[in-house]
């Protein structure tokens, strides 16, 4: 690892010295607050770190209720999904635990200090302009230091209203489908002045979640049952107000609200289908953002307060009161100032400093813990037509309330980041890229403080990522475009937080005992072709191969085995055909076999699966109005499969949606 870093540094130094003599930049990477479509494509093609994104049309072709369904089409992503609309959904990027990936909506963070990663099922897919995954979190645009602190970051960007000559724009519609799904949605943007507007978004969702599933219990015990207690009622709502202040500044205030009440169907237990546990969420975030752009500087100020209340109720718990009613409250204050300064034609510096305060109280915790974090990130970027290089670091100082006096009171770390890319050829365009990143994730509060299970003495889990790849694009003639990216990656996780049983098998505790080494390959191939004047066909393929070896204990029989729930192979394909106002989508997802434990034996094997979704949409335009009617089938071939053992996924389902844009 060390020698790899040295090589990277040397290469970087060499390339910087070489590149300073180059011609002025034409395809600048400086991304301002507003981007135009062509620049976005170039961003994806030019980055020295792996960046994947889905555009609004691609998002529209994804079948599903939440952003988790969009993210699973990315390469390197392993989705953890407990099934149904109400099932918890998180993602692991390149075999790193879900807590290593940050989630940002319009530049503001969403987090969950208790579990480490928010439930991605909370974020509806509609009204998003872009879903992207940035591995390594490079890029010289201003962003909070916190975004740079993760091994990767998921960015969700809402649609910016295009008022044209109208004062009010928006859309309204409804989706309905199998397993009792009803999902009306409304978005309204109203112009309140020359540069200011007010936006409101409401997205209620009801799902019965009573899908049939297979109890896979051998030739004599298998049966088909319906999932019980899988209902979800949720409301996601956003309010925002944006105003241009002066020529180059924009202020945005927002309130984000999420309220949900759901049943937890629980694991499928042979011979015992009973389940009655309930989960209630009440989340609120209030935020303030100030963006300003000038020739030399771009600034981004973020202030956000969020509140998340959770109630877990088990009415049939066999404890003292014959029910279990746990309530948890977490609050977070996040302040961030970020700025990018164009030092010279080629050089820019991106600085950010964040302060985060997390407070938590819960009925299963012995204390009311808090955490204060101060993060400082600095990235120096150098960009020419032929080369791009970034080098930087993140410094963190973190104080946890629950540490023993004997332990070090503060966690402080400096995590380096380097990346570079070099243009090899113009036609076809070919670039080489390389990235190294060190990052760590703090233990989540459940891991530290949850009754019996928690271990306040946990250390951060560190991750090192090394990526080398090739990016190419080729347009043999007008209207046909191929894009390819192929990356080899090498990850190393130190002091991985692993649950091991203590006291008895019902009481597990967290220890920093894991070591993981991952070697993998990510390949993406996109092709799009214009078909006549009003038609278009596109194909997006993503393939990942990864070997994530458990190297915690040389003497263990599991040494070198694949870690739990990471398949060796994943593959996704999105096909889209558009002709006039009709479009057909077909999406395919493959997850190879994997094991539920580091003991790679047949009893722990989960079989591979192929899932297909298909959709047909009709979206005519009439002046300012646009309609869209879509009929879709999820899990077209009605495949029985599980992502998490004992949590079956839904079989074939139908969704019909109608939307009206005005």
């Amino acid at each position: 690892m060390k020698s790899n870093v040295t090589v990277t540094v040397l290469l970087l130094a060499f390339l910087i010295s070489r590149a300073t003599a180059q011609e002025p930049v034409t395809d600048t990477l400086m991304l301002k607050g507003v981007e135009i479509a062509s620049e976005k494509i170039s961003r994806k093609e030019l980055t020295s770190f792996p960046l994947q994104s889905l555009s609004a049309t691609q998002i529209a072709s994804v079948a599903g209720n939440s952003v988790a369904d969009a993210l699973k089409t990315f390469s390197g992503v392993t989705l953890r999904d407990y099934g149904g609309a109400g099932g918890l959904k998180t993602v692991m990027v390149r075999s790193l635990g879900a807590q290593h990936t940050g989630v940002f909506i319009d530049g503001a963070p969403v987090s969950d200090i208790a579990s480490g990663q928010p439930d991605l099922g909370k974020f509806p897919l509609g009204n998003l302009e872009e879903v992207s995954l940035n591995v390594g979190v490079g890029g010289s645009e201003p962003m909070p230091a916190r975004a740079r602190s993760g091994a990767s970051v998921i960015n969700l960007r809402s649609i910016k209203p295009d008022f044209g000559k109208f004062k009010t724009r928006g859309n309204a519609g409804i989706r309905g489908g199998s397993f009792g799904l009803i999902n009306p949605f409304l978005r309204l943007d109203h112009k309140t002045g020359t540069g200011s507007w007010f936006g409101i978004e409401i997205n209620p969702l009801f799902s019965k979640g009573d899908y049939p599933y297979l109890v896979d219990n051998g030739p004599a015990g298998s049966a088909r049952l319906k999932r019980g207690n899988g209902d979800l009622t949720s409301l996601a709502a956003n309010l925002s107000f944006s105003a241009k202040a002066g020529d180059s500044s924009e202020v945005r205030v927002f309130a984000r609200f999420y309220n949900a009440e759901r049943g937890l169907p629980g694991a499928v237990v042979f011979y015992n289908p009973h389940s009655s546990q309930r989960l209630t969420n009440k989340d609120l975030s209030l935020g303030f953002q100030l963006m300003s752009d000038s020739k030399r500087t771009s600034l981004l100020t973020n202030a956000c307060w969020s509140y998340a209340w959770l109630r877990y109720l088990d009415p049939d718990y066999l404890g003292y009161d014959h029910s279990l009613d746990n309530r948890y409250l977490q609050q977070e204050l996040h302040l961030s100032q970020a700025g990018t300064f164009n030092i010279s034609r080629h050089f820019s510096a991106s600085l950010a400093s964040d302060f985060i305060l997390n407070a938590f109280s819960g009925s299963q915790y012995n204390t009311d813990p808090w955490r204060g974090s101060f993060l400082l990130s600095a990235i120096l970027a150098h960009q020419t037509r032929n080369t791009g290089a970034e080098a930087g670091f993140l410094a963190s100082v973190i104080k946890d309330s629950g540490k023993d006096p004997s332990e070090e009171a503060l966690t402080h770390k400096v995590s380096p980041y380097f990346s570079l890319s070099v243009r090899i050829a113009d036609v076809p365009s070919l670039r080489l890229r390389m990235m190294y990143k060190h990052s760590f994730r703090m233990p989540a509060f459940n891991e530290m403080y949850y009754a019996l299970v928690g271990n306040p003495g946990l250390l951060p889990e560190a991750a090192q990522q090394l990526n080398t790849g090739l990016l190419g694009s080729y347009a043999p003639f007008k209207g046909l475009l191929f894009r390819l990216s192929a990356d080899a990656f090498f990850n190393r996780v130190h002091e991985k937080i692993v649950a091991i049983p203590t006291q008895n098998l019902f009481v597990w505790s967290m220890q920093n005992i894991g070591e993981v080494r991952t070697r993998g390959l990510d390949i993406q191939l996109d092709a799009s072709a214009a078909l006549g004047r009003r038609g278009k066909a596109s194909v997006n393929l993503a393939y990942t191969y990864q070997e994530a070896s458990d190297i915690s204990d040389k003497n263990s029989s599991d040494y070198g085995n694949q870690i739990p729930y990471i398949p060796w192979e994943t593959f996704s394909a999105m096909f889209q055909l558009v002709h006039r106002s009709f479009s057909i989508d077909y999406n395919l997802l493959f997850n190879g076999y994997r094991y539920v434990s580091s003991e790679n034996i047949p009893q722990n094997l989960l079989p591979s699966w192929w899932i297909s979704d298909a959709g047909l949409a009709w979206s005519p335009e009439a002046g300012r109005y646009k309609y869209r009617i879509k009929a879709g089938v999820t899990n077209l071939f009605d495949k029985d499969y599980v992502v998490i053992r004992s949590f079956p996924m839904p079989g074939r389902g139908f969704v019909i949606s109608g939307a009206f844009n005005f």
Partner: protein, 388 residues
């Protein structure tokens, strides 16, 4: 309708496909079940476990090891070690019956010709023909639709007593194979034994931590009522008689400042002794010796020590004499037919486990692999086998 179909189907071990059967087929199934039950009721179960020591006609035929599996993974399993060819077959129950035991096996015993297996999270009592491994019946233990969560089992007379986490003890008739009575006990009972003409139930209160229970309920097996309740340490667990009028039990404490201890209760309910100098998680009694094991979760060290039940004094702090490595001791049992002590090792608690057989001098005789978290033992003796 689908659900009814499923239940009927699962009881019918002869049906091999998960189909929803029409009504007439369900009737056939019911009749078949009746036939099976009548057949089983013809066999007379003995009133007491058979005497086995020094009986030359009795010898060990096999060992059933119950693998607890992991919570919510439906991987409780049965390993069968066959003495005739010295091989162990994990997934024995599945191989014989074409279906799994379910979720979290918590106890097993052989009584008469039958092997009884308690499956905790699936909330079932599986009744198996001990000689063939074929299931005779699966008895659901539910309160309406709510699982009772059975934990531990003890035979007595014509009955099997099963303590359930829902504060009850279920009485199962060994001939009819059905629950004939439910007895209220303390909170979350997690240990049961038949001794001195009574049924002793340790009430853990473990699901109400930190407000643990600390009592042992005494049940009259004739009237099916709780006759007294005695105070012991908090969170009591395994309880077994020593044959000298006392009962040994583990009080698991609170996993914090109150440690897990071995205690001795006399038959009139007096707490005679608490072994305060060492921690203990489980034990087995053979003759006048208790073999007590502990696994220290902090240091990851396993130990098995020897205690004389007559003097109630530790005799040896290390039972294993030949250095056999045991990483995470998880269960212990004594087979009177072979006079061997069996110790199970859960290793890393998530994968293949192992069982070692020791002679009384603490020397390993043989070992075999098991499923995940081997915890319970039931010994099959040749006398029980018709033909084979």
């Amino acid at each position: 309708m689908k659900f009814i179909g499923f239940l009927a189907m699962s009881k019918n071990r002869l049906s091999i496909r998960p189909v929803i059967e029409p009504f007439w087929q369900q009737c056939m199934v019911a009749m078949l079940l009746l036939l099976i039950m009548m057949h089983t009721s013809c066999r007379k179960d003995p009133d007491q476990p058979r005497p086995v020591l020094n009986d030359t006609t009795i010898y060990a035929a096999g060992i059933y090891v119950l693998n607890e599996g992991l919570f919510n993974q439906n991987n409780a399993g049965l390993t069968f070690y066959n003495f005739s060819d010295s091989t162990a077959e994990t997934d024995y129950f599945f191989n014989k019956n074409g279906r799994g035991l379910g979720d979290t096996g918590s106890d097993a015993c052989i009584y008469g010709s039958k092997l009884y297996i308690v499956v905790n999270v699936s909330s079932q009592l599986e009744v198996v023909d001990a000689a063939s491994g074929i299931s005779l019946s699966r008895i659901p233990l539910f309160n309406g639709s709510k699982p009772r969560q059975p934990r531990k089992i003890s035979p007595y007379g014509k009955y099997i007593f099963v303590c359930n986490f829902d504060n009850t003890v279920a009485v199962i008739d060994t001939a009819r194979l059905e629950v004939i009575s439910l007895i209220e006990a303390g909170r979350n009972p997690d240990g049961i034994t038949a001794a001195y003409g009574k049924i002793w139930v340790s009430n853990s209160g473990g699901l109400a931590f930190p407000a643990y229970d600390n009592t042992v309920s005494v049940i009259d097996p004739e009237t099916f009522t709780e006759v007294s309740r005695f105070t012991v340490g908090i969170n009591p667990y395994t309880i077994r008689p020593d044959g000298h009028g006392n009962l040994y039990l583990i009080s698991r404490g609170n996993y914090d400042d109150v440690k897990s201890r071995l205690q001795v209760l006399d038959a009139s309910g007096n707490l005679v002794k608490t072994f305060g100098e060492f921690e203990a998680l489980g034990f087995a009694i053979a003759g006048d010796t208790a073999y007590v094991y502990n696994y220290d979760w902090n240091s990851g060290k396993s130990s098995v020590m020897v205690i004389n039940t007559l003097t109630m004094q530790p005799e040896d702090t290390e039972f294993i004499k030949d250095g056999t490595p045991v990483r995470a001791v998880y269960g212990i049992a004594h087979d009177p037919a072979t006079d061997l002590i069996y110790i199970s090792d859960a290793l890393n608690f998530t994968g293949t486990g192992r069982v070692h057989a020791f002679d009384k001098a603490g020397n390993r005789q043989f070992s075999f692999n098991t499923g995940i978290n081997p915890s319970g033992f039931a010994f099959l003796h040749r006398m029980n086998i018709q033909g084979n």
